[in-house]
Each structure stands twice: as C-alpha cells, then as structure tokens.
Amino acid sequence: VPAAPPAPLGCDDPESEAAAAVAVNYINGHSHHGYKFALNRIDNIRVVPQGPNNDIMFLELDLLETECPILSPTPLENCTVRSLAEHAVEGDCDVKMQKVDGILSVLASKCHSHADSSEDVRDACPDCPLLAKMNDTDVLETVSAALNDYNSKTTGSYLRLLEIGRAKIQYHPGHIIATEFAVGATNCSAEEAKANVGACQLLPEDQSNFGFCRAVMVKRPSQDLQVDCQLYGHQVPAPDIPLLSRVVPSQDTS
C-alpha cells in the first residue's frame, strides 16, 4: 500500500515559520524603499514535492511595517512594528521558495503594501492624524525646509533627499506637519555646497553613507521647525543584495 502522503504543513509549524523567516529577510534585503517589514501572519503555505529532499513551497505572508527605514542597519528584531494609532501599513506577499536538502532559498516574491483604513486609525485613536499623501504641498514644503535647515547648520557632509518615508498632518489644535525622510551624504561639505550645490552628488556605492531624518513643522499657533538627522555610516552591502538602485518608488515590489 503506497505510503500516505505527508500531512499538509500547518501555517504555525516550525518548518513554515523557518521558511517565512527566510522570506521576510529576503524581502527586506531586496527592497529599496520605505521601511522594514515584520511577519504578522502566515496566511497560507503549500508544498509541492519535486523529488527526494526537494520541495517547492508557496507562501502567502501578511507583514506589518516597522519604524525602521529600509536602509537602517538596525536588526529587524529590534524594529518596533508601527501601531494602529500611528496608521499601520500592511504588506501582502506571495513568495515562491525551494527547499533542497533542508536549505531554503527564495525563487521569487511579489508584495503589495497598503495603509490601514482611516476607520481603524480612528477606532484606535480618535484624535490621531492620518498618513498624508506623499505629494501634499505641506509635506513637500516641510521636507525641503527641514533639509535646508539641517544643511545650513551641519559641519558635516551636505545631505541630499533620497525619498520621503511618511508624513502626517494635524490641523487641529494647531497646524503641524510631521515627516520622515531618507537622505544620502554627498561628496560636498555643507560649506562647499553653498558655492556650487549642483556639483554635490551622492557618494559612490563603496563609500555610500545613508541616513534618516525626522522633522516637525508647526505652522500654527506659531511657526517652528525641528529636524533631527542620523547618518548610518558606510554599510558594507551583503554580497547578494544590491545596496540601492534608483528605481521609482512603488507599492508593488517583485
């Protein structure tokens, strides 16, 4: 009597969790925008045996955005998952993997991220502001003013904007814009940039130095601007992971 087929893998089985951990590490390692994502739930897993010690695995993963920018060297386990009140962002990923002689590898992945509904945010925190649109004029103005302010005061490298990570606008009480954006060090000092900012280019990959800024602009009741930027220092990229490619930010990544 042929041996009964193995019972289907459960989504909480250790083998499934191990595969999901490899998949999440791959997704974060190959993403170039936004923030690191953490595993929230394994929605489904399907194993298609290919032969002895050789399986193809299809995983459906439910991820949640963390507060760590994607270029941050902070280990994922130290990254706090953004709460509902902060307007959480969910990632849905389909991942195809292979397991040969117990070694897991990712063959393909496709993810789509989307912000939580405003109703959920209101349920969690009635007065919390929602995520603003990236091209909101208040947001663009705040990021520009904050980076100019930082560059006018720093004694270090002149920083260029890489991308805006997220922004929120509070209209009452007071008009307050909070933004987070990624920056890169250039080959100029801030002083040199005053003379010829056009010559200031991002450092080449083997010297790259990325960082992250958080800024808050108060427009009412009185004008105020606070900005804080942290540079990570040069990170040696992992051998199989490109450090940063200039791709248009999108919500779908493959």
């Binding site: 459960g10 989504c11 953490a38 509902l84």
Partner: protein, 38 residues
C-alpha cells in the same frame, strides 16, 4: 429507492460518535497573528 435506503443506512453507520470533549484540531492555516489584524 434501494440505493437511497442503503445510502441512508450507510450514512447512519458512518456517523462515528465523537468522544465526549472532542476538540477538532485547529485548521492548519491561516496561522497565528503576531501583532494585530488589519
């Protein structure tokens, strides 16, 4: 009608009585939620 009766009878026999307190195993997927569901 014989088939129906046979099926009906067979169905009766198939209803294996569950032991008292039997809890069906949780469905294998989706898995547990680690943070919150949105």
């Amino acid at each position: 009608s014989v088939a129906k009766r046979a099926v009906a009878e067979a169905a009766q026999h198939d209803k294996v009585p569950r032991p008292v307190g039997f809890v069906p195993p949780p469905p294998p997927c989706p898995g547990k939620i680690r943070y919150f569901d949105i």
